[in-house]
């Protein structure tokens, strides 16, 4: 199935930003997994990658299968002792993060700038994107 989701991974000291665009549904599984892998491998020291920022500012649709993908990313990050934060969610999807309790485990920021500023870091390099 052709994915309508794109992901760009940016690595910062101790963190990585995965900027998502389009639709987060079942077809986004490989895109999200690849983006996470890129974040880990692109980090100078993957053990030092403490935070994954998922930016949803350019996402216009998330369905239940997309929620399941986000749960899988969160489960993997927790198993690897990494924190996940999210930015750019619309009010509707923030509500869905509340209803599903994802917001109990993923700190939400209104936008990417505020999410990154709480990391206290600046962008160092840019990795490729996938679709």
């Amino acid at each position: 199935m052709t994915s309508m989701c794109e992901a760009t991974t940016r690595v910062l000291p101790g963190a990585a930003v995965i900027e998502l665009a389009g639709e987060v549904d079942g077809s986004a599984a490989a895109v999200l997994t690849d983006a996470y892998e890129r974040a880990v491998t692109a980090s100078a020291d993957s053990a030092d990658l403490g935070t994954i920022v998922l930016d949803f500012a350019a996402v216009d649709y998330i369905n239940s299968t997309g929620i399941a993908l986000i749960v899988s990313v969160l489960a993997r990050a927790r198993a690897e002792r990494r924190k996940v934060v999210a930015s750019g969610l619309s009010a509707h999807y923030r509500e869905i993060f509340d209803i599903t309790r994802l917001s109990d485990f993923i700190e939400l920021f209104p936008d990417l700038d505020r999410a990154v500023s709480q990391l206290g870091t600046a962008s160092q390099s840019v990795e490729g994107g996938t679709r």
Partner: protein, 157 residues
């Protein structure tokens, strides 16, 4: 005993879709266009859109088994202050989404004790003011109702 007259439902739209994954987006867009400007706030319209998409996805995938030749039927009606969207498939009594499913529990999912999936019906229930499911032979219908005034849910978003 006082009889309360119930208004006859007014059909606002009715259409069918082939059971092809992704067509839930078509249902979402068409229903949104039909009910826009009929008394739902933007936030409640977004909720209805999510519920319609999830219910249509279930009908396509679980009810009709992704068989494109079997249509999903969608009808939008208004009765008084209620807007109801019905979504029908041919999943019958043994519709997979009607089983005794465990309520999704994020902690269990994160611990690997529950599949990461299984959010569809949970989302639908939490998005609309009322949800009913009926079966008539093979015909399986989910009814999604939103009140246009004095709704029980929200407006907290």
């Amino acid at each position: 005993m006082t009889q309360v007259a119930r208004p006859t439902p007014e059909r606002l739209d009715a259409f069918t879709l082939p059971s092809q994954p992704g067509n839930e987006r078509l249902a979402l867009a068409r229903v949104a266009g039909t009910v826009q400007g009929r008394g739902l706030s933007d936030a409640r319209l977004e909720r209805l859109k999510t519920a319609v998409a999830e219910a249509t996805m279930n009908a396509i995938e679980h009810g009709n088994g992704n068989r494109v030749e079997i249509p999903v039927e969608v009808e939008v009606t208004r009765s008084g202050n209620d807007i109801t969207v019905s979504i029908s498939d041919q999943g019958g009594e043994a519709h997979p989404v009607d089983g005794d499913h465990e309520e999704p529990d994020l902690v269990k999912k994160l611990d690997g004790d529950q599949s990461p999936r299984g959010w569809g019906l949970f989302l639908i229930r939490n998005m609309v003011d009322a949800m009913d499911i009926t079966t008539d032979g093979q015909r399986h219908t989910i009814w999604l109702t939103m009140r246009t005034t004095g709704a029980a849910h929200d407006e907290h978003v």
